[in-house]
């Protein structure tokens, strides 16, 4: 896949809730292997944008093409597309009635018809990667927030997605647990995963991002590489936002 053919192509997307414009003429391309970090004040539409990529939010107009398929076209199988888009949520959303191992194997076994033994082996490899092999038999309620989020990342990876979407993955965590989750995400980035991350972790953005997107009031205000974005932002609104949080 070359740069002319982005893996995610968002064109002129509008989304309103009643009279409120959550997304206002948003266009953004993400290339394969790229790490895009989206930041902005709360209510700026950054989470909404992320959730339109796998159609957890429907859009009012515009188009979103993922890996060559228009996700809002009734001809494309949204469930197949979603299987290629791993998603990590702010509130983890682990299946509470399943053990950690079963959380990881449920989708591969039911959707990809992966044999159980193979699915479990893959799951254990992923748990190793997030450092939670010893928690395989635990239930989500028995884990700390940080551990739950690491399991959630592993669960998303279990479907071998081409792209990972992160929706404020550390916002619900106690400060001492943020590090362990970011560490996993950094590793993932180093391995070349295409990532779109909505976050407030500026350190992570600076370290990992190829491109930082700043959103405000449903619009994309500025897109820039992290160095330029943080040290020399173009727009006034970006400057003001950075002054407030840094």
């Amino acid at each position: 896949m070359n740069a002319d053919n982005p893996i995610i192509s968002i064109q002129k997307v509008h989304k309103s809730f009643g009279t409120f414009k959550a997304l206002d003429d948003v266009s953004l391309n993400v290339d394969a292997g790229q790490k895009v970090v989206v930041i902005g004040p709360s209510g700026s539409g950054k989470s909404t944008l992320l959730r339109t990529i796998n159609r957890l939010e429907t859009i009012s107009s515009g188009s979103i093409v993922v890996d060559g398929r228009d996700i809002n076209d009734s001809a494309s199988d949204i469930n197949r597309i979603r299987a290629e888009l791993g998603m990590v949520f702010q509130s983890f959303n682990l299946f509470r009635h399943k053990s950690v191992l079963d959380n990881l194997t449920l989708a591969p076994i039911k959707l990809k018809k992966t044999p159980r033994a193979q699915a479990e082996q893959h799951a254990m490899e992923l748990l190793e990667k997030v450092g939670l092999v010893d928690k395989a038999e635990s239930y989500p309620v028995q884990l700390s927030g940080g551990q739950q989020q690491r399991v959630a990342i592993a669960r998303a990876l279990a479907m071998n997605p081409k792209i990972m979407l992160f929706d404020e993955p550390t916002s619900a965590l106690d400060p001492e647990m943020i590090g362990e989750v970011l560490e996993v995400m950094v590793t993932l980035a180093r391995e070349g995963m295409t990532m779109v991350v909505v976050t407030h972790e500026m350190g992570f953005a600076r370290e990992v991002a190829d491109s930082v997107v700043f959103m405000d009031e449903g619009k994309i205000v500025e897109v820039a590489p992290p160095d330029r974005f943080f040290d020399n932002p173009e727009h006034k609104r970006t400057q003001r936002f950075l002054e407030q949080i840094l």
Binding site: S91, L94, F95, R96, K98, L111, V141, G145
Partner: protein, 261 residues
């Protein structure tokens, strides 16, 4: 973590004993062994008339159980369909389910029993037991529908989103993710409805189904031993509901394993 804390309390069945209660004198034990004790006392020291009464009842007990289990089976199926219908985005399905629940809940069970029994009689020739089961099942299906709906809605939306994001479609999400969790929340009120239904089967005696109550009434109408007969009937209902509430309590305990830290 945005957990929804939901307590569904219907409260017309019976008190479900707390499985964690390890005390020697629990309300359940006092009621259960007390009841058994009274029955034993009456049978041993006053065999006339209590032995005759209890000998008259067994086929009625069987009928009560048959009606209860068949009705609850029907009610669970109808309840699940009605509950899913009530939360469905399909307007037609939703409307049918909502109307069913509205109509059934607005008619007293006794009236429904009479109505279905005699109305069915004019349409198709069904045995009285079947008419009783259909009537009980349809009525309780409406109540179950509301329980199912509340149970399903009590599961955090995040669970649905996580499931959808993995590639499950809506019905797979319902089947693999939502219902297994909702079931745990639904079980106590369903158990409650189950016991309430068992008690309400005494109403079928009105449409001449020979359950425990009708057998007892037949005995009393011939012997004029009203007090003694109804004493025995009350004790037998109590033993049955106490046993059932204990069983439900144990099942509930087993299903809740993943909630324990």
């Amino acid at each position: 973590m945005r957990d929804k804390h939901v307590v569904i309390d219907v409260g017309d069945g019976a008190a479900i004993p707390d499985p964690e209660d390890k005390g020697l004198f629990t309300a359940w034990r006092i009621s259960f062994f007390g009841t058994l004790g009274i029955i034993a006392y009456l049978l041993i020291f006053r065999p006339d008339p209590y032995l005759d009464i209890i000998k008259f009842l067994p086929d009625g007990i069987v009928v009560t159980f048959q009606v209860t289990f068949a009705s609850i089976g029907l009610a669970l199926v109808l309840g699940l369909i009605a509950g899913l219908g009530r939360i469905s985005k399909n307007t037609f399905f939703n409307l049918v389910a909502s109307t069913y629940i509205e109509v059934i809940r607005g008619i007293p069970l006794l009236v429904q029993l009479f109505y279905i029994y005699f109305a069915l009689g004019h349409l198709v020739r069904v045995p009285d037991m079947v008419a009783a089961i259909v009537a009980m099942g349809f009525c309780y299906g409406a109540y179950m529908g509301e329980v199912f709906r509340a149970g399903i809605l009590s599961i955090d939306d995040g669970q649905t989103e996580a499931s959808l994001s993995l590639g499950f479609n809506r019905s797979q999400t319902m089947r693999y993710v939502i219902l297994p969790q909702a079931w745990r929340i639904i079980l106590p009120p369903v158990g409650n409805e189950f016991i309430a239904l068992l008690k309400d089967t005494s109403l079928v005696s009105i449409i001449a189904v020979s359950d425990i109550l009708r057998r007892g009434r037949e005995f009393a109408s011939e012997s004029f031993l009203y007090f003694e007969t109804y004493t025995m009937i009350a004790l037998i209902y109590l033993v049955i509901t106490l046993i059932l509430s204990k069983i439900l309590s144990n099942v509930e305990h087993r299903l809740s394993h993943y909630e324990r830290r």
